[in-house]
Amino acid sequence: MRVEKISGPRCAVMGLIMGLLGACTAQPAPSAPPTLAERGREIFFTETFNGNGRTCGTCHRAEDNFGLTPNFIASLPADDPLFVAEINAALVRGFEAPRQMRANGLIRENLDGFEDLDNKFVLRGVPHTLALRTSVASAAGPRTGWSGDGAPGDGSLRAFATGAVIQHFTRSLNRVAGADFRLPTDAELDALEAFLLSLGRQQDLTLPLPFADATAARGQLLFLDNNVGRCNVCHFNAGANGDPAIFGANAGNLSFDTGVENLPDGPGALLGDPTPPRDDGFGIPGDGTFNTPPLVEAADTGPFFHNNSVSTLEVAVGFYDGDAFNSSPAGQLIRQATGSGIELDATEIQAIAAFLRVINALENIRQAESYLTSAGAVRREQRGERLALAREETQDALDVLAAASLNGDAQGDLRQARHLSSGHRANVDGALAALQRARGRLLAPSQPAPR
């Protein structure tokens, strides 16, 4: 469209003629300026900070629930910036552990210092960045990253990107600001923080919920029972915060040494190239603690724990029945306080996992609805992306339910929702209706079909 500017006496005449519709300057309708979170999104996915080519989105993939799984890594081309340590000679040694990254999704970090790169490092999975608004705050200050001390400066989520650029974006191991990367500006940090806080859930659930599936309902009871599963003590309402009735109203996110580092035969250790040094968690030297992740998003964001040591949700729940947990400082605390460790039989483990699967699916549905609803309000080039993300969320809901044969009727609705949100002529209203039906089947008691 050609835009013509009109001015002078001709404009005045035109103004009389056009009345209220007239404008002395004919320009395209102004689009709303991007919000702070939208600017943050742009930075998150495109800004390399003059570094090695990576962006925040290199490891926190939108299409992989803002995390990074080994399966997703296997789908990437060889020249993806994730693999910069395999390509860039300056980063070949001491920057990543490529075999551990490809096999186990592990990223190299130097949380205790950079002075001995060959020996002083840890290998950690990529935590998703969903529901951060609910999971960072604690009475002792913000807790970021797996061990709660992921951000330099004031340790806040806002400051996190500065540390990430230094650790992961550098062109060389000298890590000189202005040469190997540039540090984010204050405006960029503001925008990134706004974007991160916009992702996923904005508030915690309120349990209990009325589940249709008996196994999930039983799992919820076990989860909430402070004498059996005891999960709710640290994962209050399946989130990332401690039970306020136990830890105080403002306890927020808590850190524990749960003994994950003592698990035998972890995938990283079995691969052994390199053998992961012991991860000492929070602080320098570390105290062995790691902060509590939210569980609503757990079922579709495995592998689990800070070192990706467990690949399935059921085994992650079963961890708390094992020796590694029950002999850990956190496990001993439970034993000391209640007289016994956590003991769960196979069916109880399965039930708790079923509960986590269903609440994950409900969150997938909520998020898919959000993407579908917003698809109509964004620019055309963003519409396809929103629809794709809605399909990803719907597929995740299907996967977490199907893997444990849960709520088969809801799975049918989810398949329909996925189909209706596909293609150039996506039926957004139809997809939303199918998602709503799926939610109803997950929550409402199942009724026998009419004769």
Binding site: G113, G141, A151, P152, A159, L183, F247, T289
Partner: protein, 123 residues
């Protein structure tokens, strides 16, 4: 329930440490640490290691504190040499690097106790 409450609360009471990461802080040039409570200025006099009974302190002058201010340098205070202006990598430092006249930035861990969390010094 009461038992578990008391035991867990007392256990958590010890977990109130500052949460900022120290490793990457080393590579952030003076004045650019996001959100950190810091003071910049010049070292007034060379820092002497404390006697067995005393504390090691660093005295500095600053525009924000023209009369001078001092901070406790404890065993956990990390000292970084900021070489970024020369395009060189920053390194870990020691008390001997805190020489009079050098430009420094001090992050304050505990305002009441005046304890330094870290000190960055320009060589």
């Amino acid at each position: 329930m009461r038992t578990i409450t008391l035991a867990l609360v007392s256990a958590m009471a010890a977990a109130g440490a500052a949460a900022a990461q120290q490793a990457t802080e080393q590579y952030i040039p003076i004045g650019q640490s996001p959100g950190a409570r810091t003071m910049q200025g010049e070292i007034s006099s060379a820092v002497e290691p404390a006697s067995a009974s005393g504390q090691t302190t660093i005295a500095m002058t600053s525009e924000a504190a023209p009369g001078g201010v001092s901070y406790v340098v404890g065993p956990r205070t990390r000292i970084y040499i900021d070489n970024s202006a020369r395009g060189q990598p920053s390194t870990m430092g020691a008390l001997a690097d805190l020489q009079a006249g050098r430009h420094i930035e001090v992050a304050i861990a505990d305002a009441e106790a005046g304890a330094a969390l870290w000190i960055k010094v320009r060589p």
